[in-house]
Protein backbone atom coordinates (compact mmCIF):
# COMPACT_ATOMS: atom_id res chain seq x y z
CA UNK A 1 0.00 0.00 0.00
CA UNK A 2 1.09 3.58 -0.53
CA UNK A 3 1.83 5.30 2.75
CA UNK A 4 2.89 8.70 1.46
CA UNK A 5 5.84 9.14 -0.86
CA UNK A 6 8.85 7.49 0.68
CA UNK A 7 12.33 8.93 0.05
CA UNK A 8 13.39 5.39 -0.79
CA UNK A 9 13.00 3.64 -4.11
CA UNK A 10 13.37 0.27 -2.40
CA UNK A 11 12.34 -0.72 1.10
CA UNK A 12 13.12 -4.23 2.23
CA UNK A 13 11.82 -5.28 5.62
CA UNK A 14 12.86 -8.57 7.20
CA UNK A 15 12.54 -10.60 4.01
CA UNK A 16 12.86 -14.37 4.32
CA UNK A 17 12.76 -16.83 1.43
CA UNK A 18 12.78 -20.55 2.06
CA UNK A 19 12.76 -22.93 -0.89
CA UNK A 20 10.82 -26.02 0.22
CA UNK A 21 12.30 -29.51 0.32
CA UNK A 22 12.07 -31.40 -2.97
CA UNK A 23 12.07 -35.08 -3.72
CA UNK A 24 14.54 -36.05 -6.42
CA UNK A 25 12.40 -38.25 -8.65
CA UNK A 26 10.13 -41.11 -7.49
CA UNK A 27 12.77 -42.98 -5.52
CA UNK A 28 15.25 -40.19 -4.82
CA UNK A 29 16.09 -38.65 -1.48
CA UNK A 30 14.29 -35.57 -0.28
CA UNK A 31 16.46 -32.44 -0.20
CA UNK A 32 16.55 -30.14 2.82
CA UNK A 33 14.63 -26.85 2.61
CA UNK A 34 16.96 -24.00 1.62
CA UNK A 35 16.84 -20.69 3.48
CA UNK A 36 18.04 -18.50 0.61
CA UNK A 37 17.23 -15.14 2.25
CA UNK A 38 17.38 -14.92 5.99
CA UNK A 39 15.81 -11.78 7.43
CA UNK A 40 17.22 -9.03 5.21
CA UNK A 41 16.25 -5.41 5.81
CA UNK A 42 17.55 -2.34 4.00
CA UNK A 43 16.43 0.78 2.13
CA UNK A 44 17.80 2.26 -1.08
CA UNK A 45 17.47 6.02 -1.71
CA UNK A 46 16.16 7.23 -5.07
CA UNK A 47 18.74 7.90 -7.75
CA UNK A 48 21.48 5.80 -6.21
CA UNK A 49 23.41 2.90 -7.65
CA UNK A 50 23.11 0.06 -5.19
CA UNK A 51 25.30 -3.02 -5.50
CA UNK A 52 24.70 -6.44 -4.04
CA UNK A 53 27.79 -8.58 -3.71
CA UNK A 54 28.23 -12.07 -2.43
CA UNK A 55 29.62 -15.47 -3.32
CA UNK A 56 27.56 -17.95 -5.35
CA UNK A 57 24.44 -18.96 -3.44
CA UNK A 58 24.51 -15.84 -1.27
CA UNK A 59 20.92 -15.02 -2.20
CA UNK A 60 21.49 -12.07 -4.56
CA UNK A 61 19.45 -13.40 -7.47
CA UNK A 62 16.68 -14.68 -5.18
CA UNK A 63 16.40 -11.24 -3.64
CA UNK A 64 16.31 -9.55 -7.06
CA UNK A 65 13.61 -11.99 -8.20
CA UNK A 66 11.51 -11.13 -5.15
CA UNK A 67 11.92 -7.42 -5.84
CA UNK A 68 11.01 -7.95 -9.50
CA UNK A 69 7.84 -9.91 -8.52
CA UNK A 70 9.15 -13.14 -10.02
CA UNK A 71 9.20 -14.86 -6.64
CA UNK A 72 7.15 -14.39 -3.50
CA UNK A 73 8.92 -14.09 -0.16
CA UNK A 74 8.16 -16.63 2.56
CA UNK A 75 7.76 -13.73 4.99
CA UNK A 76 8.59 -10.05 5.30
CA UNK A 77 7.80 -7.13 3.02
CA UNK A 78 9.46 -5.33 0.13
CA UNK A 79 8.29 -2.16 -1.55
CA UNK A 80 9.38 -0.63 -4.84
CA UNK A 81 8.51 3.05 -5.15
CA UNK A 82 6.17 2.52 -2.15
CA UNK A 83 4.28 -0.40 -3.75
CA UNK A 84 4.36 -3.76 -2.03
CA UNK A 85 5.79 -6.47 -4.31
CA UNK A 86 3.25 -9.06 -3.17
CA UNK A 87 0.12 -6.92 -2.81
CA UNK A 88 0.64 -4.62 -5.83
CA UNK A 89 2.86 -6.55 -8.27
CA UNK A 90 1.51 -4.84 -11.38
CA UNK A 91 2.25 -1.36 -9.97
CA UNK A 92 5.76 -2.59 -9.15
CA UNK A 93 6.28 -3.95 -12.66
CA UNK A 94 5.19 -0.62 -14.14
CA UNK A 95 8.04 1.04 -12.26
CA UNK A 96 10.89 -1.34 -12.95
CA UNK A 97 12.78 -3.09 -15.70
CA UNK A 98 15.19 -5.93 -15.34
CA UNK A 99 18.16 -7.64 -16.95
CA UNK A 100 18.14 -11.25 -15.82
CA UNK A 101 21.31 -13.18 -15.11
CA UNK A 102 20.47 -15.70 -17.82
CA UNK A 103 20.57 -14.49 -21.41
CA UNK A 104 17.00 -13.78 -22.48
CA UNK A 105 15.79 -12.87 -25.92
CA UNK A 106 13.25 -13.48 -28.64
CA UNK A 107 15.51 -15.85 -30.54
CA UNK A 108 13.36 -16.03 -33.69
CA UNK A 109 13.03 -12.26 -34.04
CA UNK A 110 15.56 -9.78 -35.38
CA UNK A 111 17.50 -7.46 -33.09
CA UNK A 112 15.28 -4.55 -34.17
CA UNK A 113 12.09 -6.55 -33.53
CA UNK A 114 13.38 -7.56 -30.11
CA UNK A 115 13.68 -3.89 -29.17
CA UNK A 116 10.36 -2.93 -30.78
CA UNK A 117 8.49 -5.77 -29.07
CA UNK A 118 9.95 -4.77 -25.71
CA UNK A 119 8.95 -1.15 -26.39
CA UNK A 120 5.39 -2.26 -27.19
CA UNK A 121 5.05 -4.11 -23.91
CA UNK A 122 6.15 -0.96 -22.11
CA UNK A 123 3.79 1.26 -24.12
CA UNK A 124 6.68 3.33 -25.43
CA UNK A 125 5.97 6.09 -27.95
CA UNK A 126 8.60 6.71 -30.64
CA UNK A 127 9.84 3.17 -30.32
CA UNK A 128 11.57 3.22 -33.73
CA UNK A 129 13.73 6.21 -32.79
CA UNK A 130 14.54 4.78 -29.36
CA UNK A 131 15.45 1.43 -30.89
CA UNK A 132 17.76 3.09 -33.44
CA UNK A 133 19.52 5.14 -30.72
CA UNK A 134 20.00 2.12 -28.50
CA UNK A 135 21.28 -0.05 -31.32
CA UNK A 136 23.87 2.66 -31.94
CA UNK A 137 24.85 2.87 -28.25
CA UNK A 138 25.28 -0.90 -28.10
CA UNK A 139 26.97 -1.15 -31.50
CA UNK A 140 24.14 -3.29 -32.84
CA UNK A 141 23.19 -1.26 -35.91
CA UNK A 142 24.90 -3.60 -38.36
CA UNK A 143 23.14 -6.57 -36.72
CA UNK A 144 19.70 -4.91 -36.68
CA UNK A 145 18.06 -7.29 -39.13
CA UNK A 146 19.74 -10.48 -37.97
CA UNK A 147 17.79 -12.95 -35.88
CA UNK A 148 18.99 -13.13 -32.29
CA UNK A 149 19.44 -16.91 -32.57
CA UNK A 150 22.16 -16.26 -35.16
CA UNK A 151 24.16 -13.93 -32.86
CA UNK A 152 27.01 -14.83 -30.51
CA UNK A 153 26.39 -14.97 -26.77
CA UNK A 154 28.01 -11.55 -26.27
CA UNK A 155 25.75 -9.92 -28.85
CA UNK A 156 22.67 -11.57 -27.39
CA UNK A 157 23.60 -10.08 -24.03
CA UNK A 158 23.94 -6.66 -25.68
CA UNK A 159 20.42 -6.91 -27.06
CA UNK A 160 19.13 -7.90 -23.63
CA UNK A 161 20.80 -4.97 -21.89
CA UNK A 162 19.95 -2.52 -24.70
CA UNK A 163 16.25 -3.14 -24.11
CA UNK A 164 16.19 -1.75 -20.58
CA UNK A 165 17.74 1.50 -21.78
CA UNK A 166 14.76 1.98 -24.10
CA UNK A 167 12.37 2.57 -21.22
CA UNK A 168 12.54 5.10 -18.40
CA UNK A 169 11.24 3.09 -15.45
CA UNK A 170 12.30 4.64 -12.13
CA UNK A 171 14.02 1.43 -10.98
CA UNK A 172 16.37 -0.75 -12.95
CA UNK A 173 17.51 -4.20 -11.79
CA UNK A 174 20.64 -5.69 -13.34
CA UNK A 175 21.67 -9.22 -12.46
CA UNK A 176 25.32 -9.57 -13.49
CA UNK A 177 24.75 -7.36 -16.52
CA UNK A 178 28.32 -7.40 -17.83
CA UNK A 179 28.51 -11.17 -18.37
CA UNK A 180 29.89 -11.77 -21.87
CA UNK A 181 30.53 -8.09 -22.63
CA UNK A 182 33.84 -6.88 -23.98
CA UNK A 183 35.67 -4.21 -21.95
CA UNK A 184 34.83 -1.35 -24.34
CA UNK A 185 31.13 -2.05 -24.31
CA UNK A 186 31.18 -2.63 -20.56
CA UNK A 187 32.68 0.82 -20.07
CA UNK A 188 30.05 2.37 -22.33
CA UNK A 189 27.28 0.66 -20.38
CA UNK A 190 28.77 1.76 -17.06
CA UNK A 191 28.88 5.36 -18.32
CA UNK A 192 25.27 5.06 -19.45
CA UNK A 193 24.29 3.70 -16.03
CA UNK A 194 25.94 6.65 -14.30
CA UNK A 195 23.97 9.03 -16.55
CA UNK A 196 20.72 7.21 -15.79
CA UNK A 197 21.44 7.44 -12.09
CA UNK A 198 22.23 11.16 -12.41
CA UNK A 199 18.78 11.61 -14.00
CA UNK A 200 17.23 10.09 -10.87
CA UNK A 201 16.86 6.47 -11.90
CA UNK A 202 17.60 3.98 -9.12
CA UNK A 203 19.87 1.17 -10.22
CA UNK A 204 20.19 -2.07 -8.29
CA UNK A 205 22.82 -4.46 -9.51
CA UNK A 206 24.44 -7.71 -8.54
CA UNK A 207 27.90 -8.52 -9.71
CA UNK A 208 30.79 -10.89 -9.14
CA UNK A 209 33.18 -8.38 -10.73
CA UNK A 210 34.17 -6.36 -7.73
CA UNK A 211 35.93 -3.64 -9.69
CA UNK A 212 32.57 -2.90 -11.32
CA UNK A 213 30.90 -2.41 -7.96
CA UNK A 214 33.88 -0.38 -6.73
CA UNK A 215 33.63 1.92 -9.72
CA UNK A 216 29.85 2.20 -10.01
CA UNK A 217 28.09 1.79 -6.69
CA UNK A 218 27.24 4.52 -4.20
CA UNK A 219 26.12 1.93 -1.73
CA UNK A 220 27.09 -1.72 -1.38
CA UNK A 221 25.47 -4.63 0.44
CA UNK A 222 27.58 -7.72 0.99
CA UNK A 223 25.55 -10.90 1.43
CA UNK A 224 26.47 -14.39 2.49
CA UNK A 225 24.05 -17.28 2.94
CA UNK A 226 21.11 -14.92 2.68
CA UNK A 227 22.31 -12.58 5.42
CA UNK A 228 23.81 -9.11 5.39
CA UNK A 229 27.44 -9.19 6.41
CA UNK A 230 28.32 -5.60 5.58
CA UNK A 231 26.65 -2.52 4.16
CA UNK A 232 27.81 0.96 3.24
CA UNK A 233 29.64 3.00 0.66
CA UNK A 234 33.13 2.00 -0.41
CA UNK A 235 34.73 4.23 2.24
CA UNK A 236 32.64 2.74 5.05
CA UNK A 237 33.41 -0.79 3.89
CA UNK A 238 37.11 -0.02 3.75
CA UNK A 239 36.97 1.12 7.36
CA UNK A 240 35.73 -2.37 8.22
CA UNK A 241 39.03 -3.65 6.92
CA UNK A 242 41.35 -0.98 8.30
CA UNK A 243 44.09 -3.47 9.06
CA UNK A 244 44.14 -5.08 5.66
CA UNK A 245 46.93 -4.10 3.26
CA UNK A 246 47.54 -4.96 -0.32
CA UNK A 247 51.21 -5.27 -1.24
CA UNK A 248 53.07 -5.76 -4.52
CA UNK A 249 56.87 -6.30 -4.52
CA UNK A 250 58.65 -6.57 -7.88
CA UNK A 251 62.04 -8.30 -7.74
CA UNK A 252 64.74 -8.26 -10.37
CA UNK A 253 64.38 -12.03 -10.29
CA UNK A 254 62.04 -13.92 -8.04
CA UNK A 255 63.92 -15.23 -4.93
CA UNK A 256 63.87 -19.02 -4.51
CA UNK A 257 61.42 -20.34 -1.92
CA UNK A 258 59.55 -17.04 -1.62
CA UNK A 259 56.20 -18.86 -2.08
CA UNK A 260 56.83 -20.90 1.10
CA UNK A 261 57.85 -17.86 3.08
CA UNK A 262 54.75 -16.11 1.86
CA UNK A 263 52.50 -19.04 2.79
CA UNK A 264 53.95 -19.06 6.32
CA UNK A 265 52.65 -15.51 6.81
CA UNK A 266 49.02 -16.71 6.22
CA UNK A 267 48.03 -13.91 3.86
CA UNK A 268 44.37 -13.25 2.98
CA UNK A 269 45.46 -14.12 -0.54
CA UNK A 270 48.68 -14.12 -2.55
CA UNK A 271 49.91 -14.78 -6.06
CA UNK A 272 53.04 -14.53 -8.15
CA UNK A 273 52.79 -12.57 -11.35
CA UNK A 274 56.10 -12.80 -13.27
CA UNK A 275 58.69 -11.35 -10.94
CA UNK A 276 56.07 -9.64 -8.81
CA UNK A 277 54.80 -11.02 -5.54
CA UNK A 278 51.28 -9.74 -4.85
CA UNK A 279 49.62 -10.39 -1.54
CA UNK A 280 47.04 -9.12 0.85
CA UNK A 281 47.78 -9.32 4.54
CA UNK A 282 45.78 -8.61 7.65
CA UNK A 283 48.09 -6.93 10.14
CA UNK A 284 48.61 -3.65 11.96
CA UNK A 285 50.48 -0.98 9.99
CA UNK A 286 53.84 -1.54 11.71
CA UNK A 287 53.61 -5.30 11.32
CA UNK A 288 52.71 -4.96 7.65
CA UNK A 289 55.76 -2.79 7.07
CA UNK A 290 57.98 -5.33 8.89
CA UNK A 291 56.66 -8.11 6.64
CA UNK A 292 57.41 -6.04 3.56
CA UNK A 293 60.89 -5.19 4.80
CA UNK A 294 61.63 -8.85 5.58
CA UNK A 295 60.49 -10.03 2.16
CA UNK A 296 62.34 -7.20 0.41
CA UNK A 297 65.63 -8.48 1.87
CA UNK A 298 65.24 -11.75 -0.07
CA UNK A 299 66.26 -10.26 -3.40
CA UNK A 300 66.97 -7.13 -5.38
CA UNK A 301 63.76 -5.11 -5.32
CA UNK A 302 62.73 -2.95 -8.28
CA UNK A 303 59.43 -1.65 -6.95
CA UNK A 304 57.29 -1.83 -3.81
CA UNK A 305 53.65 -0.80 -3.60
CA UNK A 306 51.57 -0.80 -0.42
CA UNK A 307 47.92 0.18 -0.43
CA UNK A 308 44.75 -0.09 1.58
CA UNK A 309 42.33 -2.91 1.06
CA UNK A 310 40.49 -3.18 -2.22
CA UNK A 311 36.84 -4.13 -2.34
CA UNK A 312 37.98 -7.61 -3.30
CA UNK A 313 40.06 -7.89 -0.11
CA UNK A 314 37.17 -6.65 2.00
CA UNK A 315 34.80 -9.05 0.28
CA UNK A 316 37.11 -12.04 0.79
CA UNK A 317 37.81 -11.15 4.39
CA UNK A 318 34.19 -10.55 5.32
CA UNK A 319 32.77 -13.60 3.56
CA UNK A 320 35.50 -15.84 5.03
CA UNK A 321 34.85 -14.42 8.48
CA UNK A 322 31.09 -14.96 8.10
CA UNK A 323 31.73 -18.52 6.88
CA UNK A 324 33.99 -19.29 9.85
CA UNK A 325 31.43 -17.87 12.31
CA UNK A 326 28.67 -19.96 10.74
CA UNK A 327 30.80 -23.10 11.22
Amino acid sequence: MIAGRSPFALEVDNIVKVYPARRNGLFGACSEPVRAIDGLSFNVPRGSIFGMLGPNGAGKTTLLKILATLLQPSSGHARIESFDVVERPLEVRRRMSMVLQETAGEMFLSVRDNLLTYARFHGLAEAERGAAENMQLFDLTTEADRKVQDLSGGFRRRVQVAKVFLVKTPVLFLDEFSTGMDPILKRAVMDALRKESARGRTIVLTTQVLSEAEELCDDILILNKGRQIARGDLHALKLLSQDVYEVAITFESLPAGIEHEMAALHPVRSRINGNTLEFCVKAREAEALEIVAALAKKGRVLRVEIGGASLEDIFVELTQKAGAEAR
Partner: protein, 250 residues
Amino acid sequence: MSSISAMLYRETKIRATNITFVFWDLFYPLCYLLVFGVGVTASLGTPLSAPGVTYNSFFLAGVLGMASFGIASNSSWSFFMDRDNGIFYEMLTYPMSRSEYLLGKVLFNVFIAIIQMVITLGLGTWLLGIRLRADLLPLLVVTVILGTAGWFFFYTIFALKIRRNDIFNSVTSVFYFVFLFASSMFYPLEPLPRWFRVIGLANPITWQVDLLRYTSIGLGNPHQLGMEAVAFGIFVLACFGYAVRSLKQI
Protein backbone atom coordinates in the same frame (compact mmCIF):
# COMPACT_ATOMS: atom_id res chain seq x y z
CA MET B 1 -5.37 -3.63 -23.24
CA SER B 2 -2.02 -2.41 -24.59
CA SER B 3 -0.18 -5.34 -23.03
CA ILE B 4 -2.68 -7.81 -24.53
CA SER B 5 -2.16 -6.25 -27.96
CA ALA B 6 1.62 -6.29 -27.40
CA MET B 7 1.41 -10.00 -26.67
CA LEU B 8 -0.69 -10.53 -29.78
CA TYR B 9 1.92 -8.58 -31.80
CA ARG B 10 4.72 -10.70 -30.35
CA GLU B 11 3.03 -14.03 -31.02
CA THR B 12 2.12 -13.00 -34.57
CA LYS B 13 5.69 -11.83 -35.29
CA ILE B 14 7.17 -15.09 -34.03
CA ARG B 15 4.67 -17.28 -35.88
CA ALA B 16 5.19 -15.28 -39.08
CA THR B 17 8.91 -16.10 -39.08
CA ASN B 18 8.13 -19.60 -40.34
CA ILE B 19 5.73 -20.19 -43.21
CA THR B 20 5.40 -23.92 -42.35
CA PHE B 21 3.78 -22.99 -39.04
CA VAL B 22 1.33 -20.72 -40.79
CA PHE B 23 0.36 -23.26 -43.42
CA TRP B 24 -0.01 -26.16 -40.99
CA ASP B 25 -1.90 -24.07 -38.41
CA LEU B 26 -4.44 -22.95 -40.96
CA PHE B 27 -4.96 -26.00 -43.13
CA TYR B 28 -4.49 -29.09 -40.99
CA PRO B 29 -8.16 -29.48 -39.87
CA LEU B 30 -9.24 -29.32 -43.49
CA CYS B 31 -6.55 -31.87 -44.44
CA TYR B 32 -7.78 -34.15 -41.65
CA LEU B 33 -11.37 -33.83 -42.86
CA LEU B 34 -10.41 -34.54 -46.44
CA VAL B 35 -8.15 -37.50 -45.69
CA PHE B 36 -9.72 -39.18 -42.65
CA GLY B 37 -13.33 -38.19 -43.32
CA VAL B 38 -13.26 -39.18 -46.97
CA GLY B 39 -11.32 -42.38 -46.11
CA VAL B 40 -13.86 -43.55 -43.52
CA THR B 41 -16.82 -42.62 -45.71
CA ALA B 42 -15.35 -44.49 -48.67
CA SER B 43 -14.42 -47.63 -46.75
CA LEU B 44 -17.19 -47.89 -44.15
CA GLY B 45 -20.00 -45.98 -45.80
CA THR B 46 -22.00 -43.80 -43.39
CA PRO B 47 -22.01 -45.75 -40.14
CA LEU B 48 -24.41 -43.40 -38.34
CA SER B 49 -27.91 -43.85 -37.05
CA ALA B 50 -28.85 -40.21 -37.73
CA PRO B 51 -30.75 -40.08 -41.02
CA GLY B 52 -29.29 -37.91 -43.76
CA VAL B 53 -26.04 -37.22 -41.91
CA THR B 54 -22.89 -38.28 -43.74
CA TYR B 55 -19.73 -39.18 -41.87
CA ASN B 56 -18.04 -36.10 -43.35
CA SER B 57 -20.77 -33.87 -41.83
CA PHE B 58 -20.52 -35.72 -38.52
CA PHE B 59 -16.73 -35.49 -38.45
CA LEU B 60 -16.66 -31.76 -39.25
CA ALA B 61 -17.27 -30.92 -35.56
CA GLY B 62 -14.60 -33.46 -34.65
CA VAL B 63 -11.94 -31.74 -36.73
CA LEU B 64 -12.90 -28.33 -35.35
CA GLY B 65 -12.58 -29.73 -31.81
CA MET B 66 -9.32 -31.40 -32.71
CA ALA B 67 -8.05 -28.08 -34.09
CA SER B 68 -8.76 -26.33 -30.76
CA PHE B 69 -6.98 -29.13 -28.95
CA GLY B 70 -4.07 -29.14 -31.40
CA ILE B 71 -3.53 -25.37 -31.26
CA ALA B 72 -3.50 -25.54 -27.47
CA SER B 73 -1.06 -28.42 -27.41
CA ASN B 74 1.29 -26.76 -29.93
CA SER B 75 1.21 -23.34 -28.35
CA SER B 76 1.78 -24.73 -24.85
CA TRP B 77 5.16 -25.83 -26.20
CA SER B 78 5.99 -22.16 -26.56
CA PHE B 79 6.27 -21.99 -22.76
CA PHE B 80 9.16 -24.45 -22.95
CA MET B 81 10.79 -22.58 -25.82
CA ASP B 82 10.38 -19.29 -23.98
CA ARG B 83 11.84 -20.84 -20.85
CA ASP B 84 14.82 -22.19 -22.79
CA ASN B 85 15.37 -18.76 -24.37
CA GLY B 86 15.12 -17.05 -20.98
CA ILE B 87 12.45 -14.70 -22.30
CA PHE B 88 9.66 -16.33 -20.28
CA TYR B 89 10.93 -14.96 -16.97
CA GLU B 90 11.83 -11.60 -18.50
CA MET B 91 8.28 -11.26 -19.81
CA LEU B 92 6.93 -11.90 -16.34
CA THR B 93 8.68 -8.68 -15.26
CA TYR B 94 6.91 -6.66 -17.98
CA PRO B 95 4.15 -4.26 -16.92
CA MET B 96 1.21 -6.61 -17.33
CA SER B 97 -0.80 -8.85 -15.06
CA ARG B 98 -0.58 -12.62 -15.28
CA SER B 99 -4.16 -12.70 -16.64
CA GLU B 100 -3.21 -10.23 -19.41
CA TYR B 101 -0.23 -12.41 -20.26
CA LEU B 102 -2.47 -15.45 -20.76
CA LEU B 103 -5.26 -13.54 -22.49
CA GLY B 104 -2.77 -12.04 -24.94
CA LYS B 105 -1.48 -15.49 -25.78
CA VAL B 106 -4.96 -16.96 -26.11
CA LEU B 107 -6.11 -14.12 -28.33
CA PHE B 108 -3.53 -15.14 -30.89
CA ASN B 109 -4.71 -18.75 -30.70
CA VAL B 110 -8.32 -17.65 -31.12
CA PHE B 111 -7.33 -15.58 -34.13
CA ILE B 112 -5.72 -18.65 -35.75
CA ALA B 113 -8.67 -20.88 -34.78
CA ILE B 114 -11.19 -18.56 -36.45
CA ILE B 115 -9.24 -18.44 -39.72
CA GLN B 116 -8.86 -22.24 -39.52
CA MET B 117 -12.62 -22.56 -39.00
CA VAL B 118 -13.44 -20.30 -41.96
CA ILE B 119 -11.13 -22.30 -44.25
CA THR B 120 -12.43 -25.66 -43.01
CA LEU B 121 -16.08 -24.68 -43.25
CA GLY B 122 -15.69 -22.91 -46.59
CA LEU B 123 -13.73 -25.63 -48.37
CA GLY B 124 -15.45 -28.46 -46.47
CA THR B 125 -18.90 -27.43 -47.63
CA TRP B 126 -17.66 -26.78 -51.15
CA LEU B 127 -15.58 -29.95 -51.60
CA LEU B 128 -17.60 -32.43 -49.50
CA GLY B 129 -21.09 -31.00 -49.81
CA ILE B 130 -21.56 -30.57 -46.05
CA ARG B 131 -24.70 -28.58 -45.27
CA LEU B 132 -24.28 -26.08 -42.44
CA ARG B 133 -26.93 -24.52 -40.18
CA ALA B 134 -26.41 -20.86 -41.14
CA ASP B 135 -28.69 -19.67 -38.30
CA LEU B 136 -26.35 -21.27 -35.73
CA LEU B 137 -23.07 -19.95 -37.16
CA PRO B 138 -22.64 -17.20 -34.53
CA LEU B 139 -22.93 -19.87 -31.82
CA LEU B 140 -20.43 -22.02 -33.69
CA VAL B 141 -17.94 -19.13 -33.62
CA VAL B 142 -18.50 -18.69 -29.86
CA THR B 143 -17.95 -22.42 -29.29
CA VAL B 144 -14.73 -22.38 -31.31
CA ILE B 145 -13.46 -19.36 -29.34
CA LEU B 146 -14.39 -20.87 -25.97
CA GLY B 147 -12.94 -24.24 -26.91
CA THR B 148 -9.65 -22.82 -28.12
CA ALA B 149 -9.31 -20.72 -24.97
CA GLY B 150 -10.32 -23.56 -22.65
CA TRP B 151 -7.87 -26.08 -24.02
CA PHE B 152 -5.08 -23.51 -24.11
CA PHE B 153 -5.61 -22.72 -20.42
CA PHE B 154 -5.82 -26.45 -19.66
CA TYR B 155 -2.50 -27.17 -21.37
CA THR B 156 -0.91 -24.06 -19.85
CA ILE B 157 -1.41 -25.47 -16.36
CA PHE B 158 0.64 -28.54 -17.23
CA ALA B 159 3.24 -26.60 -19.23
CA LEU B 160 3.82 -24.36 -16.21
CA LYS B 161 3.84 -27.13 -13.62
CA ILE B 162 6.04 -29.55 -15.57
CA ARG B 163 9.64 -28.43 -16.00
CA ARG B 164 10.94 -31.18 -18.29
CA ASN B 165 10.18 -31.28 -22.00
CA ASP B 166 10.25 -35.08 -22.15
CA ILE B 167 7.72 -35.45 -19.33
CA PHE B 168 5.46 -32.85 -20.91
CA ASN B 169 5.73 -34.72 -24.20
CA SER B 170 4.56 -37.94 -22.53
CA VAL B 171 1.70 -36.13 -20.82
CA THR B 172 0.47 -34.60 -24.08
CA SER B 173 0.61 -38.02 -25.77
CA VAL B 174 -1.60 -39.45 -23.02
CA PHE B 175 -3.94 -36.47 -23.35
CA TYR B 176 -4.23 -36.99 -27.10
CA PHE B 177 -5.06 -40.65 -26.63
CA VAL B 178 -7.52 -40.27 -23.75
CA PHE B 179 -9.28 -37.02 -24.65
CA LEU B 180 -9.58 -37.52 -28.39
CA PHE B 181 -10.47 -41.20 -28.59
CA ALA B 182 -12.64 -41.44 -25.46
CA SER B 183 -14.98 -38.81 -26.84
CA SER B 184 -17.57 -38.21 -29.52
CA MET B 185 -14.94 -36.75 -31.84
CA PHE B 186 -14.59 -39.70 -34.24
CA TYR B 187 -17.75 -41.71 -33.52
CA PRO B 188 -21.08 -41.28 -31.75
CA LEU B 189 -21.13 -42.47 -28.14
CA GLU B 190 -24.56 -44.16 -28.23
CA PRO B 191 -23.52 -47.55 -29.70
CA LEU B 192 -20.45 -47.84 -27.43
CA PRO B 193 -20.21 -50.06 -24.30
CA ARG B 194 -21.57 -48.45 -21.15
CA TRP B 195 -18.17 -47.92 -19.45
CA PHE B 196 -16.85 -46.26 -22.60
CA ARG B 197 -19.94 -44.05 -22.82
CA VAL B 198 -19.54 -42.92 -19.19
CA ILE B 199 -15.92 -41.93 -19.79
CA GLY B 200 -16.90 -40.19 -23.02
CA LEU B 201 -19.69 -38.21 -21.39
CA ALA B 202 -17.34 -37.03 -18.62
CA ASN B 203 -14.80 -35.85 -21.19
CA PRO B 204 -14.75 -32.06 -21.86
CA ILE B 205 -13.84 -32.75 -25.50
CA THR B 206 -17.20 -34.52 -25.86
CA TRP B 207 -18.98 -31.47 -24.43
CA GLN B 208 -17.18 -29.17 -26.87
CA VAL B 209 -17.56 -31.44 -29.92
CA ASP B 210 -21.26 -32.02 -29.21
CA LEU B 211 -21.77 -28.26 -29.09
CA LEU B 212 -19.78 -27.82 -32.30
CA ARG B 213 -21.81 -30.57 -33.95
CA TYR B 214 -25.09 -28.93 -33.00
CA THR B 215 -24.01 -25.45 -34.04
CA SER B 216 -22.55 -26.68 -37.35
CA ILE B 217 -25.07 -29.25 -38.64
CA GLY B 218 -27.85 -29.09 -36.01
CA LEU B 219 -27.30 -32.62 -34.70
CA GLY B 220 -27.80 -33.26 -30.96
CA ASN B 221 -30.16 -33.46 -28.01
CA PRO B 222 -30.97 -29.92 -26.77
CA HIS B 223 -31.38 -31.00 -23.12
CA GLN B 224 -28.03 -32.77 -23.03
CA LEU B 225 -26.40 -29.92 -24.97
CA GLY B 226 -27.58 -27.38 -22.37
CA MET B 227 -25.86 -29.32 -19.60
CA GLU B 228 -22.75 -29.79 -21.69
CA ALA B 229 -22.61 -26.05 -22.45
CA VAL B 230 -22.75 -25.22 -18.73
CA ALA B 231 -20.16 -27.88 -17.90
CA PHE B 232 -17.83 -26.69 -20.65
CA GLY B 233 -18.20 -23.05 -19.53
CA ILE B 234 -17.24 -24.06 -15.97
CA PHE B 235 -14.33 -26.09 -17.35
CA VAL B 236 -12.99 -23.06 -19.30
CA LEU B 237 -13.31 -20.71 -16.31
CA ALA B 238 -11.73 -23.21 -13.93
CA CYS B 239 -8.80 -23.79 -16.30
CA PHE B 240 -8.29 -20.03 -16.71
CA GLY B 241 -8.33 -19.48 -12.94
CA TYR B 242 -5.94 -22.34 -12.29
CA ALA B 243 -3.62 -21.29 -15.14
CA VAL B 244 -3.38 -17.75 -13.73
CA ARG B 245 -2.72 -19.21 -10.28
CA SER B 246 0.00 -21.48 -11.69
CA LEU B 247 1.62 -18.51 -13.41
CA LYS B 248 1.59 -16.54 -10.15
CA GLN B 249 3.31 -19.42 -8.38
CA ILE B 250 6.21 -19.64 -10.83
